[in-house]
Every structure is written in C-alpha cells, then in structure tokens.
C-alpha cells in the first residue's frame, strides 16, 4: 500500500514487451559494430594523412652498380640531382643501411654483400616544384645507363584510392549498423502500438492527444537506445584500446594503428546520443503516423 501514490512512469508498459526485453541487446550489438566501423574509418583516415606526409614530395632513384658495391655512378647521379632546381635534397642511402633493410627478408645468414644491389638515392623535391619525372629519368639514364626513378606519388595515389574506398566502406558499415539500432526502435514502436491497442484506445477516449501517446513511445525508444547504446559503445571503446596496444608502432609496414585523437574519441562518444535522438524522433513519427489512422 502506498497511499494512492500515482507514479509518474509511462502509462503504457512498453518495457515489459519482448521488444523491450531484447531490444537493448540488438541495439548494443549494432552500436558495438557501428562504433568499431567508425573508429576504423577514422584510423584509416589518420593513416592516410600519415602516408601523405611521409611520401608526398619524395622520389627514390635506383642506380645500378655492376659491381654492386661501387658508389661512383651513384655519386654522379647525386651530383646531377642536386644540380636540378626542383630538387631540394638528394642523399644516397648507405649500403649498410640498404643491406640491413633486406636482412629481415633474406635472413641473417644470407650473403647479402655478394648480391648486386642497386644504390638507392632518397630525393626530396622542393615544395610546389613541378618535376618532369620522364625527362629527369631520361637525363639520369644518359648519365648512368639503367638508372630508374621510383615515383612514390604514383604508388601513393593507388594506396590513397584504396584508403578512400576503405573509408567509404567503413562509413557505410557504421551507417548500416546505426540504422539497425534506429530500425529496432521503430519495430519496437510498431510492436508496442499493436500490443497496447486497447490501452491506447482508452487513453484516446479520455482525451489523450497523439503527441502524449507518441511521447511514451519516444521515451521507450530513448530507454532502449540508452540501455543498449552505451554498453555497446563502451565495449567497442574497450576493444579499440586493446587493439591499439597490439598495433605496430607508427605506420610500420603501412599498417594503420588504432590510435585516435581526443576529438575522434569525442565523435565515438557522440554515437549513442545521436542514435538515441534519431531513434526517439523515428519512434515518435511512427507512433503519430499510426495513430492518425485511427479515431
């Protein structure tokens, strides 16, 4: 006995329906995937910016060495490159460094010194400089036959195109799973409208306007989204932190890490409230539309 206390809780027992019980689990799963997909999209974007910074404005020149160890042809090429106005810097990579780079691929016991390795020259272009790569390669080839230019820009363009495709894919996955969370709220609303037709009829009879009834469904959608959305998003955040620990340092092997900026974490944290707001609006619209078809 509580002395005729009138609870301010919702008039319709929407939380007791099957949709009310299982809905939060579906929303949690959807928000978990949506959060991971959003994070992956942002991580790829971070990596893309890193690749741009690292590779933009750089080319590598390969100078063949018949002996494999002679630095003389390379020195001629370096001199020629340094004399080119568009080039800010040209530096031959030390043979020992080049061999060290190969060691992980060929094994510690391999006799790398005996291999006819080309000399690699790192070239940094001046900012905003336009270089005719073909003409430069012809000139270099004329100096030391067989010299080739490896233009990172072309490879970077391929990588960036792929990165963009991955970002679009990630955003689409995030949108689809965000939509699943919203559709769950819509289905819960429809199920509630059907299950509580009698109670809704009673409310209408005593003068409840559509907005009053629709608000009950919007509140139910809010509860559903919060109950499922926050745990789903938090679980995804935990997974991201764990993944980041196992990600390689920096951009090793071109693999993007999962380190996100503070703003990007804020974006992820905004997913549950945004999905909740949309789910509430969708539930309200669904209810109002359904109610407008009855007296």
């Amino acid at each position: 006995m509580n002395g005729g206390q009138v609870r301010a809780a919702g008039v319709l027992p929407l939380g007791r329906s099957a949709g009310g019980r299982y809905g939060p689990w579906i929303v949690a799963a959807a928000l978990f995937v949506a959060t991971l997909a959003t994070a992956a999209t942002m991580a790829i974007r971070n990596a893309e910016q890193g690749w741009r910074t690292a590779l933009a404005g750089k080319i590598t020149v390969q100078v063949p060495a018949p002996t494999g160890l002679s630095d003389e042809p390379a020195a001629e090429i370096v001199a020629l490159l340094r004399a080119t106005p568009a080039i800010a810097e040209a530096e031959a990579i030390d043979a020992a460094v080049a061999r060290a780079l190969l060691e992980p691929w060929l094994g510690a016991g391999a006799e790398i010194e005996t291999l006819p390795l080309p000399t690699l020259i790192d070239v940094r272009l001046r900012p905003d400089a336009r270089v005719d790569i073909v003409a430069l390669e012809v000139a270099l080839d004329a100096t030391v036959p067989g010299t080739r230019i490896d233009d990172h820009g072309i490879r970077l363009a391929h990588v960036l195109r792929f990165a963009l495709a991955l970002q679009i894919f990630g955003a689409a996955v995030a949108a689809i799973f965000g939509l699943i969370a919203i559709v769950t709220a819509i289905f819960a609303t429809r199920a509630g409208l059907s299950a509580h037709r009698e109670e809704i009829g009673i409310l209408q009879l005593i003068g409840a306007w559509d907005g009053y009834i629709a608000r009950q469904f919007a509140a139910h959608a809010r509860n559903l989204s919060i109950k499922g959305g926050i745990p789903g998003c938090a679980l995804a955040a935990g997974a991201l932190i764990l993944l980041d620990r196992y990600a390689p340092d920096g951009n090793a092997f071109m693999v993007p890490g999962m380190t996100l900026s503070p703003i990007q974490w804020v974006v992820l944290a905004c997913l549950p409230p945004v999905v909740t707001a949309i789910a509430m609006a969708a539930a309200r619209m669904t209810a109002v539309r359904a109610l407008s078809r009855v007296m």
């Binding site: 006995m1 002395g3 005729g4 009138v6 007791r16 409840a208």
Partner: protein, 237 residues
C-alpha cells in the same frame, strides 16, 4: 426534423460500419445542459453505437452530430482530444488499464490534463474514498471485484469534472445494490451540472428513476421522455 439547442444535438444521423447494413437510422435528439437521460432498448438496438458517436469514437455516415455547439464531422484531429476531455465515459467492460493501480487509472485524465502531482493525489484519493474504495487505492484491477472496477471506471470518468457523462451499461456487471449506488452517484454529479446519459437494457432500472428515456429499436429512436405514457410515440425532437 429539427433538434433543440443543447449540449448534444443529433440531426438525421445514420451510421453504417463499412459496407454493412445501417445500424442507426435518422436519429435526431437533443440533450439539454444539466439533463439526465436514460437510453434504453434491446441488445443490438444500437445503444452502444449511438453512445460511441457521442464520445467521438465514431463519425456518422450521414446527418449531423453537434457536441458543445461544434459539428464533430468538421473537427480536425487536434480538435478532438480537448472535446473528449469534456466527456467522461464509463463502459460495460470498465476500460481500465491492467498494470495501473486503481488510483493511477483514476488519475489518468488529470495526468493528461497536466495537473500537478499534489492535486492529482488529493483529488484521486478523495474521489476513490467517496465511491467506497479508500482501501483499494493501490490495488490493480485484477484484484478488484466487478463492482469495484465499475466504481473505479466511474471515478475516472468524473475526476476531471466533465460536462457530459456517458455510461454504457454501467450496471451490467454489478449486483443490484451496486447498480443503484452507481446511478445515485451519477445523479449526484448531475445535480452539480453534469449532463448524464446512461444506456441500459434494464427497463426496470429506468422505471425506478424519474429521468426521461430515449428508446432505440432496430437503430431507430422510437420514444422519448419518461417511459410511462410514451409508448409507441415516435420521437420528433
């Protein structure tokens, strides 16, 4: 046929469910503000359909229904709830929400009207005590007898002081004592200005009170006024 000016006016009203036969034919009547009327007739005569027109659960197929001087056919969707809040409805099936307590069911019209929590609690408690349910405030409908449920339904219908009280077979599920008590309760409300319409198939009940009765037969209004001396007289309201 013309109807007199009143809180409810029906002129040549016909009602049909879908493509089925007409269940009300050329019904015209007028209820004066503050009047008390019975609506009687055999089962299937059209009493419930007529009442549903009065509390805006149906629209007439033809003719005019005017409530509080407004033609209900011309009401927009947003104009109907304020009008419904001026009408208290008691149905034979009680119409209580099963997961809400007696007090919460009675409080619904006040909650919808955005009354304050203190006002709601006070009015609900007072009214339920007045109808003899002071000890059942926190009981769910499932724990109440039919008579108690009907009193809760009546309390909910009158809590917001409606201008018009419509009761459809309010005594159908209760014993005679409770039935008399409910009608007396409605008479008390009538004394303070509420217009009351009570539908019942029990003519003996109608005979015990001196209120005028409308009699429906096969969807037609065939009599009006006190039952005695009105037999066979067609209503020309």
């Amino acid at each position: 046929m013309t109807a007199e000016t009143g809180i409810v006016q029906l002129e040549d009203v016909g009602l049909q469910y879908g493509s089925g036969p007409e269940v009300l034919h050329d019904v015209s009547l007028s209820l004066e503000t503050g009047s008390f009327h019975f609506l009687t007739g055999a089962s299937g005569a059209g009493k419930t359909s007529l009442l549903r027109l009065l509390y805006l659960a149906l629209r007439p197929t033809r003719g005019t229904v005017r409530l509080f001087d407004r033609d209900v056919s011309r009401l927009g969707r947003k104009q109907r709830p304020p009008l419904r809040r001026r009408i208290g409805v008691v149905s034979q099936e009680f119409g209580l929400i099963s997961h809400l307590t007696a007090a919460e069911n009675v409080a619904l019209p006040l909650r919808i009207a955005k009354a304050g929590a203190g006002e709601i609690r006070e009015n609900v408690t007072d009214l339920l005590r007045w109808v003899g349910l002071g000890r059942e405030l926190d009981e769910l409908p499932a724990a109440l007898s039919d008579g108690q449920k009907q009193r809760v339904a009546v309390a909910r219908a009158v809590i917001a002081s409606p201008d018009l009280l419509i009761a459809d077979e309010p005594t159908g599920n209760v014993d005679e004592n409770v039935a008399m008590r409910l009608i007396h309760l409605m008479e008390e409300l009538n004394k303070v200005g509420t217009t009351v319409v009570v539908a019942t198939h029990d003519e003996s009940l109608v005979g015990r009170f001196g209120h005028p009765a409308y009699v429906l037969d096969g969807g037609e209004l065939v009599r009006a006024g006190p039952l005695e001396g009105m037999r066979g007289e067609r209503v020309e309201a």
